[in-house]
C-alpha cells in the first residue's frame, strides 16, 4: 500500500447479537490509531456517527439473521461490499439465540412471555448464520473474537496476505501455555479437545473446563469427547447443554446420533468458514 493510495474503506455491521464483537474492535485501544491510519472507518456506528456512503472495500458483520428485515439487509450489504467477513459465534453459527432452531423450541410461542407488546415483534422461527444467506470471504471465530485476531485480520486485508488465524484444538494452546489439563488431572468436563484455539485457553488457565466459545476446531470429534464426558459421570442432559451454548447450531458441535436438526430457513449454501 503506497502512502498516496486511498485507504481502503471499512464498514462494521450489526445483526442479532450482543455487540461484543464490535466492542472487541474498540478494545484495541492501543492499536486504534494505527487502524484508523491504515483504513478509513466508513460505517461503524458503535465507534463514530460519521458515515461514508458505500460501496465498501471491506464489511465486517456481527450477529445472526433472526428477522425478515435482517434477511433483506444482509443481501444489500453483500451488494455493497467487495470483501465480507463474519465476526463471532452469532454471525458464524447463529449464536446462542439459535437454541430456537432445535426441535421442540417455538420462538413465536416465547414472544408473549418476554415482550409486553408482542404485536410489535416480527421474528423468524430460526436464528441462522450470515453464510446461510450470502457468500462470505471468511470469518473470525469466537464469542467474542480475540481482539488480536481482529487486528490480524485488518492487517492482512491491508497488506493483502492470508491472516494467521488458528483452526487447531484448544489443547495445543493449553499445553503451550503450560497448563495442567483440567480434564485429565481434575476430572473436569472440558470442551477444549473439540474447540478451536484462539482465546489463549482462558478457562483451563483458571481451572475451568473450556465452554467452546471459539467454536469447533478444524476436525472436531464430538462423539469421542461425549464418550469421555460420560466416563467422568456427566449427566446426559448436562452433556447436551454443554455443547448447546455459543455454537449450539454449528454442525461441528452436533452430538452423537443427532441429526443436524431441521435445515435452516434460507437455502443458500454455507460459506467456507475461515479464510
Amino acid at each position: 500500500m503506497s502512502e498516496a493510495a486511498a485507504k481502503p474503506t471499512l464498514a462494521v455491521w450489526k445483526f442479532s447479537s450482543c455487540d461484543g464483537c464490535q466492542l472487541s474492535i474498540l478494545d484495541l485501544e492501543e492499536e486504534l490509531l494505527d487502524i484508523v491510519g491504515a483504513v478509513e472507518i466508513a460505517y461503524f456506528p458503535e465507534m463514530t456517527r460519521a458515515v461514508v456512503k458505500g460501496p465498501y472495500d471491506v464489511s465486517l458483520v456481527e450477529g445472526s439473521v433472526t428477522t425478515p428485515e435482517e434477511a433483506e439487509r444482509i443481501a444489500e450489504i453483500r451488494e455493497n461490499s467487495k470483501i465480507l467477513i463474519t465476526l463471532g459465534a452469532c454471525a458464524v453459527a447463529g449464536g446462542i439465540q439459535a437454541l430456537r432452531n432445535f426441535d421442540g423450541a417455538d420462538a413465536h410461542a416465547w414472544v408473549p412471555t418476554v415482550y409486553a407488546h408482542p404485536e410489535y415483534i416480527s421474528t423468524l422461527s430460526t436464528s441462522t448464520a450470515i453464510s446461510d444467506h450470502i457468500d462470505i470471504q471468511g470469518s473470525v471465530q469466537g464469542c467474542p473474537p480475540n481482539k488480536y485476531h481482529l487486528l490480524e485480520l485488518i492487517g492482512s486485508l491491508v497488506w493483502g496476505r492470508t491472516p494467521n488465524l488458528p483452526t487447531h484444538s484448544q489443547c495445543l494452546d493449553c499445553k503451550v501455555k503450560g497448563n495442567v489439563c483440567v480434564l485429565v488431572a481434575h476430572g473436569t468436563p472440558c470442551l477444549g479437545p473439540v474447540t478451536r484455539a484462539g482465546c489463549g485457553s482462558v478457562c483451563p488457565s483458571y481451572h475451568r473446563g473450556c465452554y467452546g466459545c471459539h467454536g469447533p476446531a478444524e476436525t472436531p470429534n464430538m462423539d469421542a469427547l461425549t464418550t469421555r464426558w460420560r466416563s467422568l459421570g456427566v449427566a446426559e442432559d448436562d452433556i447436551v447443554r454443554g455443547r448447546r451454548m455459543f455454537y449450539a447450531w454449528d454442525p461441528g458441535f452436533v452430538g452423537p446420533g443427532e441429526e443436524h436438526h431441521k435445515q435452516p430457513a434460507a437455502e443458500t449454501t454455507r460459506g467456507q468458514g475461515s479464510i
Binding site: 487447531h168 499445553k175 503451550v176 503450560g178 489439563c181 485429565v184 470429534n221 469427547l225
Partner: protein, 368 residues
C-alpha cells in the same frame, strides 16, 4: 565413585546451583499436578507427594514417606527450556525504500534441571539428533543445550510405574547418558538418603561442594536393587522386537480405524511428548510495516501439518493417529537411528480419550 547425601544436601545442591548462576527448573505441586517449574527452591520440592496415572487420568496422592522425587512422569517434559514453544526467528521493518532485518542473538541463560528422569534425558539426546546432528544446526537450540545442566533422578520408589514403559524402550529406569549428576533416592524405614554419581566434570565440581560420605556397598546395592525393582514392575510393556518393521508394514491395519474413532486430534500427545520436534513457521506483519517470522510447536494432529498445494493430505483422525504412531515407533528409526519413543507414558496419561499407544501397538502386532 558414589556419594551418599541426605535430604538437606539436596537442598544445598539447589542453592549451590543457584549461586553458580543457574536458573533451576525442578518439580513442584502446581494445579494439582507435579510438574517442572522454573525458579525452584529446596522447599518447593514436593516432599511426600506422589501420583497415580492411568490412560486419561492423573491424580496426586500423599505417599506418607517424605520422598522428594516420589512421582512418575511430569505432565509435560522440560523440552520447553531448550526448545521453547514460541520463538521469534527474525523480524524486518521498513527503512525508506528498503528494509532492515533484525535477528536476536540466541539467549545464553544457564539452566539446571533437577529431577530429570531417564526417559527425559534419553529424549534430549534424541532431540539433539534432530536439532544438532543433521546438515544444519539450530543455533538457538545449540546455545541453550550448551548451557544446560542435568541433575537426573533414577526411578527407584514406585514399584508400579503405571503408564511408563521405559524398560521396554531401553531408556530407563536408570539414566544412561547425557546427564551431569544422577541421584537415586532410597527410603528404608527411618533411613532416607540419596546415592549421587557425577557423570561430567561440571557434575563432579558441583558435588564436591556438597557434604556427603562415600557410598558403601550396602547403599550402592540398595540403589541398584530399587532401580531393578522398578524395571521389573513397569506398568506397561511393548514388544520392541522388530517394531519399526511392524509399524512400517501396518498401514492397512484395521486397528487404525478403531483408534481413529476415539482420537480427538487434540494434539495433546505430541505436546507432552519429550521427543516431538515439529514446528510451524508463521509470517505476520503489523499495521506499521513490521514483519515477524515466528516458530511455534506444531503437531501432526493439525490439518496444516500435512497441508500441501491443494489442501491437507491427512484429513481424518485415523490418518493422523497413524502418522503419529508410525513416526514414533517406526520411521523415526530410519530418520534418526533411534526410536522416537522413550516410553515416558505421557501420551497415555494426558490423552483426553485415554488412548494407550502400548495397547495399540500390541493390537497391531496381534493382527499382523
Amino acid at each position: 565413585m558414589s556419594t551418599v547425601m541426605d535430604v538437606q544436601a539436596v537442598y544445598t545442591l539447589i542453592d549451590s546451583l543457584k549461586s553458580d548462576g543457574y536458573e533451576v527448573v525442578g518439580p513442584r505441586l502446581r494445579d494439582k499436578a507435579l510438574g517442572y517449574v522454573a525458579g525452584t527452591n529446596g522447599s518447593d520440592l514436593p516432599a511426600g507427594l506422589g501420583d497415580d496415572q492411568s490412560p486419561g487420568n492423573y491424580r496426586t496422592r500423599d505417599r506418607g514417606d517424605g520422598a522428594l522425587f516420589g512421582f512418575r512422569s511430569s505432565p509435560q517434559s522440560w523440552r520447553r527450556w531448550i526448545f521453547p514453544p514460541n520463538a521469534e526467528v527474525w523480524s524486518a521493518r521498513r527503512d525508506n525504500d528498503s528494509f532492515v532485518v533484525d535477528t536476536s542473538a540466541p539467549d545464553s541463560m544457564k539452566v539446571a534441571v533437577i529431577g530429570a528422569r531417564a526417559c527425559d534425558v534419553a529424549a534430549l539426546t534424541i532431540q539433539d539428533k534432530v536439532f544438532l546432528d543433521g546438515q544444519f544446526q539450530d543455533p538457538a537450540y545449540k546455545a541453550r543445550r550448551e548451557n544446560l545442566l542435568i541433575v537426573a533422578v533414577n526411578c527407584s520408589l514406585d514399584a508400579d510405574s503405571n503408564t511408563c514403559f521405559c524398560a521396554s524402550m531401553g531408556t530407563g529406569p536408570r539414566v544412561q547418558a547425557g546427564h551431569d549428576i544422577a541421584l537415586t533416592e532410597i527410603i528404608e524405614g527411618d533411613k532416607h538418603y540419596f546415592v549421587a554419581d557425577a557423570q561430567t566434570d561440571e557434575g563432579s565440581r558441583i558435588l564436591e561442594g556438597i557434604s556427603g560420605a562415600p557410598a558403601g556397598t550396602d547403599e550402592v546395592a540398595a540403589a541398584d536393587s530399587a532401580i531393578s525393582n522398578v524395571a521389573d514392575s513397569m506398568g506397561r510393556k511393548v514388544d520392541a522386537d522388530g517394531l519399526p518393521e511392524l509399524m512400517n508394514e501396518s498401514y492397512e491395519s484395521p486397528r487404525w480405524t478403531v483408534v481413529g474413532e476415539r482420537c480427538l486430534s487434540c494434539t495433546s500427545c505430541t505436546m507432552v511428548c519429550p521427543t516431538c520436534f515439529c514446528t510451524n513457521i508463521e509470517d505476520s506483519g503489523d499495521l506499521n510495516g513490521v514483519a515477524t517470522r515466528t516458530r511455534s510447536w506444531d503437531s501432526c494432529f493439525t490439518l496444516r501439518h500435512s497441508h500441501i498445494h491443494g489442501g491437507a493430505i491427512r484429513n481424518t483422525n485415523k490418518a493422523r493417529y497413524r502418522q503419529w504412531a508410525i513416526h514414533k515407533m517406526g520411521t523415526w528409526q530410519e530418520q534418526f537411528g533411534t526410536s522416537g519413543c522413550v516410553g515416558c507414558g505421557r501420551c497415555i496419561t494426558w490423552c483426553p480419550s485415554g488412548i494407550d499407544i502400548t495397547e495399540e501397538v500390541t493390537a497391531i502386532r496381534e493382527e499382523a
